[in-house]
């Protein structure tokens, strides 16, 4: 469907962030949740060649074109989801984790997640007292069309609402919490099935953590605005 290359020069010992020119697609196959259409996935490969050396590194990912929006409905107070502009009636299941000894295998994930799709679910809610689920979990949610609601590691019981009330200010090290949250977002953010990051279960994270999560997780303005029609404008 699409190949584009760019030249760039990287000084020695440097780490830089590079945004490629947007790749344009006309009416690509969209990714839909279970029961609403196909879960079309594209194989995206990013490779870098170095003059005088050849291919230096490459990365690939199964990517789904989809737009997921959700807002709180002022009438009911419930959260309304839309995928590709279409409202979705959420049929969700609670998910803690595959196995208490963390024997997490692709085969087990595929079986568990296909089971939920066969039961006509279209969302998995990853509970805050469990895991930030693994890429293999998300891979099969991408394939079987299960949206994922992923909570961070805050629960009412352990963080300020349990009996006895404990840890009202959450974990001891907030910087460590944010480091883990940011690294987890980078690990999982490209999966089509990832629909919602949630601060915690039945509890709002401590104010500083909640504010940092909200700030870091908002959609970059670039993706809100209309793309100029010409590449010149864009550049």
């Amino acid at each position: 469907e699409h190949v584009q290359t760019e030249k760039l020069s990287i000084p020695p010992g440097t780490v830089l962030q590079h945004t490629l020119l947007p790749a344009f697609f006309y009416k690509p196959n969209l990714w839909w949740p279970n029961g609403m259409g196909k879960q079309s996935l594209y194989n995206v490969v990013i490779a870098i060649d170095v003059n005088g050396f050849g291919e230096s590194d490459s990365w690939s990912h199964h990517f789904g074109f989809r737009k997921i929006e959700s807002v709180i409905d002022t009438t009911t107070g419930g959260r309304l989801f839309k995928v590709n502009g279409q409202p979705v009636f959420i049929r969700g299941g609670n998910w803690i984790l595959s196995d208490g000894l963390l024997r997490l295998s692709k085969k087990r994930y595929m079986t568990d997640i296909k089971f939920h799709a066969d039961m006509n679910f279209n969302m998995m809610r990853c509970w805050g007292g469990g895991l930030a689920e693994r890429p293999e979990f998300y891979h099969y949610c991408d394939i079987y069309g299960l949206l994922v609601w992923q909570e961070f590691w805050i629960t009412g019981d352990c963080d300020g609402r349990g009996i006895p009330v404990s840890n009202p200010n959450g974990p001891l090290d907030h910087d460590l919490f944010m480091f883990c949250a940011r690294d987890t977002v980078k690990l999982l953010r490209n999966h089509a099935s990832l629909a919602l990051w949630v601060g915690g279960n039945e509890q709002i994270p401590p104010e500083d953590i909640n504010a940092a999560l909200k700030n870091d997780l908002q959609l970059h303005p670039l993706f809100r605005t209309e793309i100029p029609n010409s590449e010149e404008d864009l550049v």
């Binding site: 469907e1 699409h2 190949v3 760019e6 760039l8 990287i10 020695p12 010992g13 780490v15 962030q17 590079h18 490629l20 947007p22 344009f24 697609f25 006309y26 969209l30 079309s40 194989n43 995206v44 490969v45 990013i46 490779a47 870098i48 060649d49 170095v50 003059n51 050396f53 050849g54 230096s56 590194d57 990365w59 990517f63 074109f65 590709n84 502009g85 984790l97 208490g100 000894l101 024997r103 997490l104 509970w127 007292g129 469990g130 895991l131 693994r134 590691w153 629960t155 019981d157 352990c158 006895p164 404990s166 840890n167 974990p171 460590l176 480091f179 980078k186 490209n190 993706f223 793309i227």
Partner: protein
């Protein structure tokens, strides 16, 4: 020249309880590596947890059945050292000039000390964070490398009140770790609090420039007819000279098995 790409280290691991090993990590990865699964060393499940390895070696009953979990010593009673374990493995890696190698842990619970060929690195706390170390300069010239990791449980494993309850005494909430491990209304406590190298271990070989954490975002216009794919990558030039590069983005629809339409 070693092949560019990622290779998982998911076999041939050994484990031993830290209190049963007198040697240091430097000795284990230089002069006194374990010779095989003979006591106190045992075959290990990596990725996996300490309890998973103990179960694999039938040193604990399977907590999944009946009241077996009651027969397994809880970390609150045993102390953290009891579930502090060494994990050991070897791997081959023959590189050529201008190649670089990273050793990657996708998740460790909860903190660890790593020794590779006698060099020590600290893997900081946190159950949900990746660790990636540039090991290019500490690989063995002959290609045979010795790796030992001493894994420590969460700092606050807590203890389970006689009446149980959701999250036990909630001490685990002080750490950045899964909280269900102290037990919940639907779950008995996990005796080792899921301590271990619980996710993928790999080595990745690159040339002078490495790609890290690409970010893909799509934006939609004209009723989903006009669509853009935005890609941002982090690039690191680990050589000592300027790298003139060609960056390629390729998007294909995998028709069947390995047939692609470009």
């Amino acid at each position: 020249m070693a092949e560019i790409g990622k290779r998982k280290l998911d076999s041939g691991w050994l484990a031993a309880r830290s209190t049963e090993i007198e040697l240091t990590g430097v000795q284990l990865t230089t002069t006194h590596p374990p010779s095989g699964p003979s006591a106190p060393w045992m075959e290990a499940e990596v990725p996996g947890t300490v309890l998973g390895t103990l179960l694999k070696n039938k040193l604990v009953p399977d907590p999944f059945y009946g009241l077996n979990n009651e027969a397994i010593l809880d970390i609150a009673d045993s102390g953290r050292e009891y579930y502090t374990f060494w994990f050991f493995t070897t791997f081959d890696c023959q590189m050529s000039g201008n190649q670089h190698v990273n050793l990657n842990f996708r998740a460790i619970n909860y903190s660890a000390e790593l020794y590779l060929n006698g060099h020590k690195e600290i893997l900081p706390k946190g159950m949900f964070r990746r660790h990636s170390l540039d090991i290019t300069d500490i690989l063995h010239p002959d290609g045979k490398n010795l790796l030992a990791v001493l894994v420590h449980p969460p700092d606050h494993p807590g203890s389970i009140p006689p009446e149980g309850g959701q999250g036990g005494d909630h001490e685990i909430g002080k750490d950045v770790a899964a909280q269900y491990v102290e037990g919940w209304d639907w779950m008995t406590p996990i005796r080792d609090r899921n301590t271990g190298i619980w996710d993928e271990v790999s080595i990745s070989i690159t040339g002078p420039v490495k790609i890290t954490d690409p970010h893909l975002v799509s934006s939609f216009f004209d009723g989903y007819r006009r669509v853009y794919l935005h890609s941002t990558v982090e690039l690191e030039n680990r050589s000592s000279w300027n790298a003139d590069c060609t960056l390629t983005l390729q998007v294909t629809t995998e028709l069947e098995e390995s047939v692609c339409l470009v």
